[in-house]
């Protein structure tokens, strides 16, 4: 269940949905709960339902989004650096390019999902529910580990 609204005044459209157990899933919430005849301005159309949580929680959620945004940018720049700077002395440089591309794709996915993560957390805060579990940390850890191992193997094999 997602975007549950007890009052008729708000609509919700979020990328992540939160169920009663606090689990999240990717999707689109029901925004049919806007009061009939009430047109929201387009920049306010995605306002979340519920009541404003404690300011500290709102700030903390915002900081977390910004941290993910910086991580996404870091991944993209690291990907560019890996694919351009790590050039072997001889032979093909497909390895660094693939590793760089993986990091850049990771950055793109982080940028996309971090917004959904923020919306899901804010929705849970506003509805007084437990925060949804975010898959992003595990995702980042796995991709980073795979790229690191691949880069190490590539370095060893290309120099040996």
């Amino acid at each position: 269940m997602s975007g549950e609204v007890r009052g008729p005044e708000r609509s919700a459209t979020v990328l992540f949905m939160v169920d009663t157990a606090g689990r999240s899933s990717f999707g689109r919430a029901d925004d049919s709960l806007t009061a009939p005849g009430v047109r929201q301005r387009w920049w306010r159309r995605n306002e979340l339902p519920g009541t404003e949580p404690d300011a500290r929680f709102t700030f903390a959620n915002e900081r977390t989004f910004l941290a993910w945004n910086r991580t996404a940018l870091g991944c993209v720049v690291a990907g560019l650096a890996v694919s351009h700077v790590l050039k072997p002395a001889e032979g093909s440089n497909v390895g660094p390019k693939i590793a760089g591309l993986a990091l850049m794709v990771l950055g793109g996915l982080l940028a996309l999902f971090s917004h959904g993560n923020w919306a899901a957390s804010q929705l849970a805060l506003r509805l007084g529910r437990p925060l949804p579990r975010s898959p992003l940390p595990m995702f980042v850890s796995i991709v980073t580990a795979v790229v690191a191992v691949a880069a190490a193997l590539y370095t060893l094999l290309s120099t040996g």
Binding site: T58, F59, F65, L66, N69, V77, M104, A111, H115, Q122
Partner: protein
């Protein structure tokens, strides 16, 4: 907890948020410099180089928005009003980041 304690806690949280916005702006600016350096090898006025300029502009906008929000929300805290989440700004930053990353990946793939 008294109202003044509450103000102090919220103000400190707001300050951390202001710093987080500034760090994000600096990250955008640094990433924009790096991307411009990589992509502007064929000339400064190319479509590829414009991605870097766009990122630099994003850094400037994020810095301005962070500063604006900091001062505006400080007034809201002093007035004892509830803090609202910046849904539109966060959505814009999230989508802009995704678009920029997709553009960079597309340019990289075309260079292969």
């Amino acid at each position: 907890m008294s109202a003044s304690d509450r103000d102090v806690i919220d103000s400190l949280a707001l300050e951390r948020n202001g710093l987080a916005w500034q760090r994000t702006a600096m990250s955008w600016a640094a990433a924009g410099c790096a991307v411009t350096r990589y992509f502007a090898r064929g000339g400064l006025f190319t479509i590829r180089a414009s991605i870097g300029y766009l990122m630099l502009a994003m850094g400037a906008m994020i810095w301005a928005e962070g500063a604006r929000r900091y001062h505006r929300q400080a007034k809201v805290i002093r007035a004892g009003q509830p803090i609202t989440a910046p849904a539109f700004v966060i959505r814009s930053v999230g989508y802009a980041t995704t678009l920029v990353v997709v553009a960079i990946i597309t340019i990289e793939l075309r260079r292969w």
